[in-house]
């Protein structure tokens, strides 16, 4: 009906964005916006093309085409509303989750960062060493019949050569003002400016090696920046067919192993590796590796205890205060309520840092004021650190529950309470049988989400204790680490040795745990609703 009111000229049910009816402004705006969407889509496709990320390219093509189909056909009306949400879901949830899942099945991390090709490059780079005591020679890049070479000034002679031809003295060459050969008979000098400005030429020059003599053992001239050269030797040889690197000086053959390393028969490895798929290894390791299993088990227990106790205590305290301050006999309730909300209004990480300072056993105000200056080591003792964290989280989150419960209490109709009173229900009976069930209908889903938030409450743990005190032993984890902070440490993002594969596998396990718990508890709360 509203459509008819706003534009009576159009037939009922036709959208003003579909065609040139009426003033046509709606259609014009839609056309412009869709043009914008398509332009952005094409830009993204081109960017993905040049970055060679085919999955992103495919997804962008599909999404852009889908957008056009959805908004230009008359059918699929519900999709017009659902499409943006679905594309967000794809981009921000499924893509991220899929990528994490992919990493979880690889050994991506320290020592396994790139491709095998890059590992070979790195091994060759790391192996090629300047001959000890070798001089630096002024150098010029030269060319002969399409082949690049070097000319160097050695004493008062100029010597030149190419990859095929070892260095030989060239007579009649001149030396320029900057000390490098200026003209070399038999060769064309490539001006340095040209070398520096041409990326392809640069790469050729960087990889060019001119042998010093017929004996390969003597090494080759190499330049790093195109104006000086020195003698380098290299002992590793890459055999692309056999996929082995051979150390010619020791005779060791490094073979590509299935776990992404070059390993010799004597067990020695080259530094750089590449990442490979490892199947379920990361998941298996998380539950079987004794160095991980024990600490992770303890961490998991504490994570559950922390999340459950945090929600239960804050909910309880918040509800208690809400009941008390909901009594109409209390004056200035508005002021009290505002004051109660204050801890909630501070940024959580600031509060956590403040509490960390206040709980300091020697300089902290808590010990000074409340414990007669006793040196209670709140954050250094495993048990006390847990108590301290639960206490601070209670302080941080009870105002939230106070707010929520106050709202829920006020929504309970007065007449049901009156009816209960008339039926002879006492104060406690009214709370248990009328107030609490109705309160839980609206607050239980919040409690579940709060559980999920606390399950991953990284900020509080890291600002308060950084997971410490440590378990000791060979693990870096500590008594107050929860799963998410343990994963952060295992991932090595903060500078330790990184294992993204294991960290991703653990995050997936955490996701599954939270998913299952949320599903079960949401089903339980539905029962609550049915009860009413």
């Amino acid at each position: 009906m509203s459509t008819q009111l706003s534009s009576p000229s159009r037939p009922r049910g036709a959208s003003h964005a579909r065609s040139w009816s009426g003033r046509g402004a709606g259609f014009l705006v839609k056309l412009l916006l869709m043009a914008l969407v398509n332009a952005l889509g094409i830009a993204a496709i081109l960017a993905a093309w040049s970055a060679e990320s085919w999955i992103v390219l495919g997804a962008t093509v599909v999404l852009t085409a889908a957008a056009d189909v959805v908004y230009f056909t008359k059918r699929a009306l519900p999709l017009k509303y659902l499409f943006p949400g679905l594309s967000f879901l794809l981009v921000f949830q499924i893509f991220v989750f899929g990528y994490t899942g992919y990493i979880a099945f690889t050994n991506y991390g320290t020592g396994h960062a790139g491709s095998m090709e890059q590992a070979v490059d790195a091994a060759l780079i790391q192996d090629e060493k300047r001959v000890e005591g070798a001089e630096s020679y002024p150098l010029t890049v030269v060319e002969r019949s399409g082949e690049l070479g070097f000319a160097i000034v050695d004493g008062d002679q100029v010597r030149a050569g190419t990859t095929e031809e070892p260095l030989a003295v060239v007579s009649g060459a001149t030396i320029g003002d900057n000390g490098t050969p200026a003209t070399v008979p038999g060769y064309d000098v490539v001006p340095r400016a040209e070398v520096l400005s041409d990326t392809d030429l640069q790469q050729q020059v960087v990889s060019l090696r001119v042998p010093v003599s017929d004996d390969a053992e003597d090494g080759s001239i190499r330049t790093r920046e195109g104006s000086t050269g020195s003698v380098y030797t290299s002992s590793l040889e890459w055999d692309a067919d056999a996929q082995t690197l051979t150390d010619t000086s020791t005779g060791l053959v490094y073979e590509a192993s299935v776990d992404g390393k070059f390993r010799a028969s004597d067990g020695s490895e080259l530094a750089a590796g590449w990442y490979v798929g490892v199947g379920f290894d990361n998941f298996v390791r998380a539950v079987t590796d004794p160095d991980l299993r024990g600490p992770l088990g303890q961490v998991t227990l504490w994570t559950f205890a922390f999340a459950i106790l945090s929600v239960a205590s804050a909910f309880g305290l918040g509800l208690l205060f809400a009941l008390i301050y909901n009594d109409p006999r209390i004056r200035g309730r508005a002021i009290f309520r505002t004051l109660f909300i204050l801890p909630y209004a501070f940024p959580a990480f600031m509060s956590a840092l403040l509490w960390r300072g206040m709980l300091n056993s020697e300089f902290g105000i808590i010990n000074d004021l409340f414990f007669f200056g006793a040196n209670i080591n709140w954050l250094g003792d495993p048990f006390l650190a847990k108590v301290a964290i639960l206490w601070v989280n209670l302080w941080l989150s009870y105002p939230y529950w106070f707010l929520v419960c106050t709202g829920a209490l006020q929504a309970i109709p007065e007449d049901t309470l009156e009816a209960a009173t008339i039926d002879g229900a006492g104060r406690f009976r009214r709370f248990r049988s009328v107030i609490l069930p109705q309160l839980l209908v609206s607050t239980a889903p919040l409690a579940i989400s709060s559980f999920a938030v606390n399950f991953n409450n990284f900020t509080l743990i890291f600002m308060m204790t950084e997971g410490g005190p440590s378990f000791g032993g060979s693990t870096a984890l500590g008594h107050t680490d929860i799963l998410i902070s343990a994963i952060y440490r295992i991932s090595g993002v903060q500078g330790g040795s990184a294992d993204y594969g294991l960290a991703s596998a653990l995050s997936i396990l955490v996701f599954i745990v939270i998913g299952i718990i949320s599903a079960i508890s949401l089903r339980q709360t539905r029962k609550l609703e049915e009860m009413n």
Binding site: L196, S197, F363
Partner: protein, 412 residues
């Protein structure tokens, strides 16, 4: 109509976000394909830098651009992010040609295969030995160093005089004359801070790893045995259950507050903390006193410029590093932008006319480079944790030995 507009706009954002994914959240200007296509004078090198060094670098870049016709694109990032971003983005081809970095990342960068070697030629001798040593891994030089930093003994000269104590006992004796807390040593609270404590540890002859004659570290843990136990015992003797001079109640802020207020006349700190000592009129800086009889060698950190192993303009990038950033002018600009001890010897001597800089320089000359081998990543948590446990009353020798055994097990 409004609703429709919002919907379409959100769809547009969705597509944009996908485009963002493909570019890996890097500024579009750093995309290498642009440089790839450009023949002629359009060659470009991309340099990742932190905020402090950006301006100093742009001065050197200008001269370089004028001489070679190439473009230098500076991309500013958080220093803390550089290491991981470099490791993850170089293999994808999105990384820079050059990045600023700390020397202790070297092991991780080498095992990830993302750094190229560089050759300073005869210029190597112009730099402080400890700086070149730090940037050397397995006999190869990987970065151009520009600054050196370390912790040193910082003392309040108004309270304890100008003379630097040579031993821990002397320090305690002189400190006790003015305060019952002679020294403040940061332990990062309950986290532990083996870095600050390392000078004392080495004075017992218990270094982290063995070093060969070129200064390269092996992965053989060297802090066990009698010397390590002696250090652990010393920690325990000075813990709250002993003299109480060391405790896990001190974090960075409390440490600086204690020194600034004069409550502790000595502290172990780096140059970065000096700006907080506004109430101390006379600060004297010198080498860390020996607690165990041998020279106290603090860990020295070195900052420098790394070259990407996947650089498409390696020649140009080497030229920029070796012939532009290594010059005294460029190094001086870097020093002026962020006054840390220069790695270039001539410049270091020049700025050492300031007694405080001279003090830190002297401390760094006693020091050893922080190990950059990848195994170091496994050390921190266990090492710090053991020191905290001992300070909190655990049995020193057994705690220390367990830590060393666990460390050896983790490394091998």
């Amino acid at each position: 109509m409004n609703k429709r507009m919002i919907i379409t706009a959100t769809a547009a954002v969705g597509v944009l976000a996908l485009a963002g994914c493909s570019a890996d959240a890097e500024p579009a200007s750093t995309e290498s394909p642009a440089a790839e296509q450009a023949g002629g004078s359009g060659a470009e090198i991309v340099v990742w830098t932190d905020a402090e060094r950006e301006e100093a670098l742009s001065a050197a870049a200008e001269a370089f651009e004028a001489d070679t016709g190439a473009t230098v694109t500076l991309v500013q990032k958080n220093f803390e992010d550089l290491r991981n971003d470099f490791i993850t983005q170089v293999p994808t081809g999105e990384g820079p040609d050059i990045t600023v970095g700390a020397h202790d990342w070297l092991g991780a960068l080498v095992t990830a295969g993302v750094v190229d070697t560089i050759d300073l030629g005869d210029k190597t001798d112009d730099f402080e030995d400890v700086a070149v040593e730090a940037m050397t891994y397995d006999g190869q030089l990987y970065a151009l160093p520009y600054s050196v930093e370390t912790v040193a003994l910082v003392q309040n000269a108004d309270l304890v005089g100008e003379e630097i104590p040579a031993t821990w006992d002397e320090l305690v004796e002189r400190g006790l004359e003015v305060s019952d807390r002679p020294i403040a040593v940061n332990t990062e609270g309950e986290t532990g801070d083996g870095y600050t404590m390392y000078g004392f540890q080495t004075s017992f002859g218990a270094p982290l790893f063995t070093q060969d004659e070129t200064g390269s570290y092996s992965n053989e843990v060297a802090m066990g045995g009698e010397n390590g136990e002696a250090f652990a015992q010393w920690l325990s003797d000075n813990s709250p259950s002993g003299t109480g001079y060391l405790s896990t109640t001190i974090d960075y802020d409390i440490n600086n507050e204690l020194f600034n207020s004069g409550e502790a006349p000595f502290t172990i700190q780096g140059p970065w903390a000096l700006s907080t000592y506004t109430d101390v009129d006379n600060i004297v800086v010198g080498p860390i006193p020996s607690a165990g009889g041998e020279t106290a060698s603090p860990l020295v950190g070195v900052q420098g410029f790394y070259l990407s192993a996947q650089s498409k303009n390696a020649l140009l990038a080497q030229e920029f590093l070796v012939n532009y950033l290594s010059t005294e002018d460029a190094q001086r600009t870097l020093y002026e932008a962020d006054p840390r001890i220069p790695a270039l010897t001539s410049l270091a001597d020049e700025v050492a006319s300031d007694p405080i800089v001279a003090g830190f320089l002297a401390a760094s000359q006693n020091g050893v480079p922080m190990p950059s081998i990848p195994e170091m990543g496994d050390v921190w948590d266990l090492w710090n944790g053991a020191e905290v446990q001992i300070l909190n009353g655990a049995d020193p020798a057994s705690t220390w030995n367990t830590m060393v055994e666990n460390l050896e097990a983790t490394i091998n």
